[in-house]
């Protein structure tokens, strides 16, 4: 199976505090991989290393066959054009309307100048997240769930091959959280994108995961499907699945 992300022996420390302690991970094409673990274990640091926001101390990160650390500025920018990143709080640009938020990556990353094409792609992305009527609103006019959807629309608009979700359901009520989780599944079907989903929300993990990895103390300690891990006899792993 084609691998889109390959991480081997990834290590990263901050001020002497070792956060990642030799991480190994692969993500296959079209797969939804969920990463679970306690807070502060380095889950977000891992995906930041994948997009080259953080430089690892040791180890290798290969994305779409390219070693991230070896990429120059232009190549890194080009690689990032193939990756979508949904931030925890969506990170919509406050001073821009939704239309401008969506047009921003199209104009700057894909260099699309044709306004009709920008409009058409914006509407397509908004329809994919079910918010077609919000195009002229400001981000401050949207609810938490709508902001997440809008963040997802901005991520999808460049048609990425890989999508990284940093706690996509944090701060949302159960119903909205479920909607977002199903949206992540729909997006995988529609865009054929591979995803890494970092979450504490086990409902989201159950809905979206093809495979789950459990992170503890800077390493992945277990891997399997939701059912396999749910039935694990390891107390730590099991604690994620108990209500």
């Amino acid at each position: 199976m084609e691998k889109v992300i390959e991480i081997s022996n990834l290590k990263k420390s901050f001020n002497g505090n070792e956060v990642l302690k030799g991480l190994n991970l692969t993500v296959n094409k079209g797969e939804n991989l969920v990463v679970i673990g306690k807070s502060g274990q380095g889950k977000s640091v891992t995906i930041q290393c994948i997009v080259g926001m953080i430089e690892p101390d040791e180890g290798s990160v290969k994305v779409l066959g390219k070693e991230v650390e070896e990429l120059n500025e232009v190549e890194l920018k080009d690689m990032r054009g193939h990756i979508g990143f949904l931030f925890q709080h969506a990170a919509l640009y406050d001073s821009m309307t939704i239309r401008e938020n969506l047009a921003f990556p199209l104009k700057r990353v894909l260099k699309i100048k044709d306004e009709a094409e920008i409009e058409q792609r914006s509407m397509e992305a908004l329809e994919a997240v079910g918010l077609a009527d919000a195009i002229d609103k400001m981000p401050s006019d949207l609810s938490g769930g709508q902001r997440k959807r809008m963040g997802l629309a901005r991520t999808l608009i460049v048609k990425p091959e890989i999508i990284l979700y940093d706690e996509p359901t944090t701060g949302l009520d159960t119903i909205t959280s479920k909607e977002i989780s199903h949206l992540i599944l729909d997006i995988r079907e529609k865009y054929k994108a591979s995803s890494i989903i970092i979450t504490h929300d086990m409902l989201c993990a159950r809905i979206t995961a093809d495979r789950i990895v459990v992170m503890n103390d800077g390493k992945f300690i277990a891997e399997g499907t939701y059912t396999e891990l749910e039935n694990s006899e390891d107390e730590f792993i099991n604690s994620f699945f108990k209500i």
């Binding site: 931030f87 640009y93 990353v109 901005r154």
Partner: protein, 258 residues
Amino acid sequence: MIESLSLKVKTLFEDIGEQCLFAASFFRNIFRNGFEWNEFIRQCYLIGLKSLNIVLITGFVLGFVLTLQSQPTLKAFGAENYVPNMVSISIIREIGPVVISLICAGKIASGIGAELGSMKVTEQISAMDVSGANPMQYLVVTRILACTFMVPLLVLFADSLSILGGYIGANISGDMTAILYFNKSFESLIFSDFFPAFFKSIAFGFTIGFVGCYKGFKANKGTESVGVAANSAVVAASLWIIVLDAIAVQLTSIFVYS
């Protein structure tokens, strides 16, 4: 004690190093393809036009007050007719650029620091970066250039209003025709009064933009850091303006007035 001092020195040098890297990145990004003209024009509007009111009022009051304060003293020496000369020279050469730049530091540097700081805290800058867009080019280059371009213009407008304020001040307690006042104001001015002040204003404008952007970009996570970014941007920009002014005055007196 020694440890804490050495830590402070280390932090200072790290900060200087980071500022140099930030400046290098700014200059590199100016000449990169895809200059953000629309954002630059928007920033010129926000920085220039939106600051015009406060700058014009300050300029007018500066000239007005300077005249009212100096008139009785000059009158005592029988030199009342030198009020316009004194006001115009002191405003154009020194008071105008420095005071208006300090006002701009308070308004613009804090605004940029808070805006970019809040964008940093809410991961908007990271989102731009990760999407493959260039936040330095979109956010920093446009703001610094807009400040560099607009602050000298604001100073020019304020200087003009100062001279008008001086005329009105002179006519409150005295009696001087407009023609006489403005003639006397301009007869004492030469180009070497304008140019050093103009170049100084350009440097002040750059400083305001640079410090605001740097402090905003350096904001740590957390809402408190937004306030810190805004506050430290004003303090640092104001200090730099005063230091640069002292240097500029020395250079001007060596190369222009000597």
